[in-house]
Amino acid sequence: MNFILLSVIGSVIILDKYAFGEFGISQPIIAGAIIGALFGDLQTGIFIGAMLQLIFLVGLPIGRDIPPDGQAAGVIGTGSYFLLRVANHAGHALCLALILALISAIIGGALETFVRRHNEKLYHLFMKKQKNLYLYHLFGFIPAFLRSFCLILPIFILANYITIPAQFPQLNKELLTIIGLSVGFANSIYLFLKKTTVVYIITGALCGLALLVF
């Protein structure tokens, strides 16, 4: 898959979160599945997406607060893994892909603040020419798309051309599961642990242990 086309697809996926609908297709687990399917390795795409999803489970966009961009992390994590894997060992590729995903989530959050400030100009333009509401409102698509594209493209160029040195640490699926699982546990305990729900958590843990053992 061409990295430019992949950047366009990734940016369109992220529009779901910031500009159109919020159907949930930009969530890392879905984005991971889509990108995995594009590269013909659905299973790995879903696995990386699921682990990133657990890490970014708590990202509450309440009011003016803009959390780190978990959606960009999902697209960049899975996309750069598949691009890196072409010329590198899978363990190296997974390690670098996760680093890129986490860093891009932080940069993505900052870029989103920038875009939202830029949109203020659209509002002021609308106040001057109120008949052009449709134009100024829908113009918001362009910065939303460019924000993601400018974030994703350089990372995918890097992932497409870089050869990782042999000394670079490797990450296996088990280690990624430990990270995903522990952060996911913490996130879901933070969200769902209450006096009234303790019994359900214990029941779930018992069922989980039964599944694990048998």
Binding site: A19, G21, E22, F23, G24, I25, Q27, I29, I30, Q43, I46, G49, A50, Q53, I55, L57, V58, G63, P68, L98, L102, A105, R116, R117, N119, L122, Y123, F126, L133, Y134, H137, L138, G140, F141, P169, E174, I178, I179, L181, V183, F185, N187, S188, I189, Y190, L191, F192, L193, K194, T196, T197, Y200, I201, G204, A205, L206, C207, G208, L209, L212
Partner: protein
Amino acid sequence: MRLGFARFLKILFANLFIQTSWSFFSMQSMGFLYSLFAGAKKDQRDEIIKTHKGFFNTHPYMSSYIIGATLRAYDEGNVFPEETRNFITVAQTSFASTGDLLFWQTLRPAMLLIAAILAVKCGVIGPLAFIIAYNVIHLFHRIRGIIDGYQMGRDIIYILKAKRFTMVRHIFEMLGAFFTGLLISLASLEMNYLLLIPITMLFVLLLIRRFPSVLIILAVLLVFAIMVMV
């Protein structure tokens, strides 16, 4: 008073774009006007733009309830700008807090948790189940929001006590809690639990102490770097 199917579809489609021009200054103001314009008659538009060009912000899925109710006020013809503005001010806050609590804090994370477990265990069923189930509920609120908002007018605010909010939230709180426990099934018997437990406790502590989410992601990066190096 009936809304009409074509008009309903126009509002529903426009409502999907409510966040497109979100800004810190006016938040969803243009998105709100854009949705109102989609359902308003041509002679109502000048009045709408004059009354509602200010600040507007609510939960994106719940905005449809307010849009339906506002359009009803214009169709009835007895629009008092001050009253409509007061209604919108109160409604946007109430629907925002209910929507944030229902969708962002309960329903979506619970469904994503279930999807992640299903994805690791059963593959593509996880993401597919999430997309279908989540959008059934999400679109239900967008669709019913317009219809109920239009039928009930300003009384729409009382719908926040309905079971579609309270009961659904309660159910997904229970499901979220159950699947939190079930997360343990993703581990394997050979896994190093000495790593899993302290890392989990560290992040629980960071979340409970309300550390900024950027710092939490940096902490994930740091823990990850240490684990990989060691």
